[in-house]
Symmetry: C2
Subunit: 341 residues, 2 copies
Amino acid sequence: MAQASIKQVAAIAGVSIATVSRCINNPAQVREQTRIRVQAAILETGYSPNTIAQSFRRGRTNVIMVVMPSIGDPFFTDVMLGIRSVVSEHGYSIVINETNFNTMTAEEIGAIMVSRQADGFILLASIFPFGNEVLARAEKRSQPVVIGCETISATLADIPSVHIDNVAAAREATDYLISNGHKKVAFISGQSTSLLTKDREFGYRAAMHKARLPIEEGWVLEGNLSIEGAGKACSKLLRHAEPPTAIFCANDEMALGCMHEIKRQGLSVPEDISVMGFDDIRYAEVMNPALTTIAQPARQIGERVAIRLFKAIETGNQPNNQPVILPHKLIVRESVTMLAN
Amino acid sequence: MAQASIKQVAAIAGVSIATVSRCINNPAQVREQTRIRVQAAILETGYSPNTIAQSFRRGRTNVIMVVMPSIGDPFFTDVMLGIRSVVSEHGYSIVINETNFNTMTAEEIGAIMVSRQADGFILLASIFPFGNEVLARAEKRSQPVVIGCETISATLADIPSVHIDNVAAAREATDYLISNGHKKVAFISGQSTSLLTKDREFGYRAAMHKARLPIEEGWVLEGNLSIEGAGKACSKLLRHAEPPTAIFCANDEMALGCMHEIKRQGLSVPEDISVMGFDDIRYAEVMNPALTTIAQPARQIGERVAIRLFKAIETGNQPNNQPVILPHKLIVRESVTMLAN
DNA sequence: CGGAATGTTGTAAACGTTTTCAAATACGGT
DNA sequence: ACCGTATTTGAAAACGTTTACAACATTCCG
């Protein structure tokens, strides 16, 4: 037997479908005696409303779509924790859409957003070049968009966002390395499409410049935010004519890749070379040596992003576009040490 | 201006909505001259079909729902890789539903599945007690279900599944510890609701028993598949009157937690105590010492699960219920060493 | 007891699409 | 030019809900 519809429930209970609908959505409105009859019919048929039909009719899905680089990234997973807590408080569900670390084109993302399966979007990935066009379409059907973690290009400055000050944090991290006597500091960035890691690179360069330290050709490399990518970059760094004494990675995952590669080459962290990460994922503390890094308030970012989104959904307006900047924190552990000389 | 509907496109192109629909879904069926006019109208209005309406009308969502313990778990993330590749080949999308490591009740999961938002389900989590009732409902509306990784309770034996032989793998892991001279081997399991880790515990017990090695009271503890949970369990183990010389963890995440705790207590792996994991997540190799563990063919599991699901979707039948058992592999690294004595 | 006010229910329209069926048109062959 | 066939199109129904509106029933008050 196929799934029961509201019609069959109505027939069995001897009422109209409107009454059944009211029993479900607004029980107070229907007489107790009727309600009991309908409840019985629902139980008997095993009826449950067809969500698709509901969404269709209501013009509302009660779904939030989160666009993120990868579900495998522990940092974004922590952000999701915050998002989820707020989203489920509002009785909404989450649909996750991965960009596979930004390899999806803006058009692909746009196509997905356009298909109207969500009432709002949270963008944790840099979608670039991300046309205003896509956002205009989202706005056209009043689907608010909030950006988390990522900074965004100037042309899209009017989209609300929640993130830390990546430039300042990277500067602080680099300063810490410098204050530990390191003069030769390398940087491993993310993909060139990731504006967020560009900001971190900018902070690194600023700190080096301020300390009047040169950045040798070949000290700034692109990992792809992965262990493997960083391993390759690190290997190049170690073979560099002027090898760095410290490596600053744009995320922890890459820092782990570096540490692994350094060990593989028979060197050790931090004795031979210091490594600094970014994000403070849960594996950072567990590493040996434990990873010195910058902590982001991941969960809190998630919460704030979601809160802003729901404000927009509920008021029907895009939230005000002032970016929310949350504090970061340098976490000193064992992977960076004072340069002996 | 709100989002254009098919009606407006039809009006602009001077055709019926049926023709517009055909232009999108079956272009060969419409005359080129007409098609061009319609295309122009689509471009002009920025029209894109309302997916909700399509799903509603078609009675098909083109969505697969994956129920998994946590998106933060690197192992399941790898399984997802396999699932995704197959699913997107079929032009379907994925909706992920987390059980937060099985803290969701079977009723909650059931409610989600029941809401008919997906054409099929992949269960990577042990949902227990998982009533036949829920599955019956899924069957009623012909939504096939395939289980991955998890073994399932006997009563549900007729659901198709894809997984490794967890009992044999755990036996092998334990045998490896024993063959390294370890006689005092502890085991940290997952939550009691996780049948999968029960199987691993069973394998561990079988190997110990076969080697005529006693399992002291307090050697089998419950972590909750997390770093923290394992840390606590490990700490108890280290304070045990008869402390083990090796700890076998039901997953790698917990093995990392153990290694961290052991280090925190001023001991070292593997000199003072050996640690063995399970899953071979990408962090296992990066650890220092690198983690000895059992590798599961995660990606392949994902692919096979998805393939079975689509076979069921396409034929309209539940796939045959023979479980597919994929091979596991012992990965020897550095965290287990021969017991000196 | 009349009527107003309130409470409860049913009818029917609407949401945007796909699809069946029939009608209309084009085309090829004589 | 005409018929038969193939191609192209349109009208209308259907999917399962929610909801505006109207109708009916009940209660309350004077």
